[in-house]
Symmetry: C2
Subunit: 247 residues, 2 copies
Amino acid sequence: MNPEAIQETIAASIKVACSDCNLRELCMPVGFNLEDMQKLDEVVATRRRVGQGEMLFRSGEAFTSIYAIRTGFFKTCVSSEDGREQVTGFQMAGEIIGLDGIVSDHHSCNAIALEDAEVCVMPFSNVEELSREFPLLQRHVHKVMSREIVRENSVMMLLGNMRAEERLAAFLLNLVQRLHARGLSQSELVLRMSREEIGSYLGLKLETVSRAFSKFGEEGIIEVKQRYVKIIEPEALKKIFKSQSYY
Amino acid sequence: MNPEAIQETIAASIKVACSDCNLRELCMPVGFNLEDMQKLDEVVATRRRVGQGEMLFRSGEAFTSIYAIRTGFFKTCVSSEDGREQVTGFQMAGEIIGLDGIVSDHHSCNAIALEDAEVCVMPFSNVEELSREFPLLQRHVHKVMSREIVRENSVMMLLGNMRAEERLAAFLLNLVQRLHARGLSQSELVLRMSREEIGSYLGLKLETVSRAFSKFGEEGIIEVKQRYVKIIEPEALKKIFKSQSYY
DNA sequence: AAAAATCTTTGATAAATATCAAGTGTAGGT
DNA sequence: ACCTACACTTGATATTTATCAAAGATTTTT
């Protein structure tokens, strides 16, 4: 047994229980009674640790499970034949990844941990089986997928209609909003991704991202020190992201 | 009873049967026996006609149903507070729209008919109920949503990484591929949308789209006459757009 | 602790696309 | 068939962002 396999066995042997999980409100539906909740625990087969820089799944790989992030931070990205890479999202605790694999039984993107992470492995057949039994879970799964569709719609708006500074403002506001929903600061954050990764997500080159950060800093809207960011004037950011008339 | 209501009543009274529908392979799962298939017919409540330029649903509207396109052609678009509009997709016969509404019980985009159209109205509660009964339908619904997520991933790649001509090449190839899957020509098509709508989808201005069309025409790759397009050299188009799968 | 590698910032210039403008073509309505 | 929208094309110019380059900061390795 190699070290990784041992690690996985240990992780699996620890009782994995959604009913006890402090992320429940984020990644599971509410409104269950205790009995149902215990049934629901069956949806999670094991937990899995993913070290920084490691892949949770990769494009082309057979699809078996979706994953709920317990701790850590991920990026998902697609790459073209000629090697161009597009970051399609950044995911944090309580969020679900792997839904891309359902349609073709193979994943179509890579999921890479940007910091040491742990995920709940939810075999999709379990999810479907329990969904047929629990309408609340079924509805929840549908909402999770719909949310992803809606999120991608707004990324399309961002990429198709906004200029560099608007994109970065929208990105920062979205990040702190999600972090805040997890009990973290509304104004301070440490970026888990590089300028290049931000640029890839926003359809910009890293230099352009860096310049936009510097500009916001000069204007006193934010305070930036490498990956540490403090939002001084959230209203100014919102204004940049909402109103600028582009083209 | 106003004329529209009468029209709807007539449409509903015509027996709506997926089991008889020639689009079944496109919009419904395969592998059902006749008995199940008849049960499945219940998923469709009515049909609805949507005239050119009319909205099937609009952003903010309460979500009740998803729609399978029987005939016609739609665009979906989101708009920002300051009025900028982003086309998020073009949909044709056999495709499903309205999935954006699930997450918040309200639609987050507009669906507009680009030509006279008819859709099958599938109340989402019906879909969910039958999904619990028929694992094949459940799996199909999940695949439809996953396909949309994967499609949007490719659009992100397109908007984030490609140049104008690559975007247009990818767009044209995708369109003819989908039309071909519906028994239409692999090389000829009549665009249902304006240059401006193409531009909105591709994150370009209409003039840029027009120039790219002209360039392809001059190079003999395509033949363009307003909205009529004939693809002369599909390989040349594929070479321009040599990224991976685009849905 | 020094060295190497990586990430970030900033400046100068180039390239791509938007904007403005004018003219042409096409479709729909009377 | 004519008139009037509206859609499309094309040219000239402006703007934005990419590219190239180099230096500074941070993290990792030795």
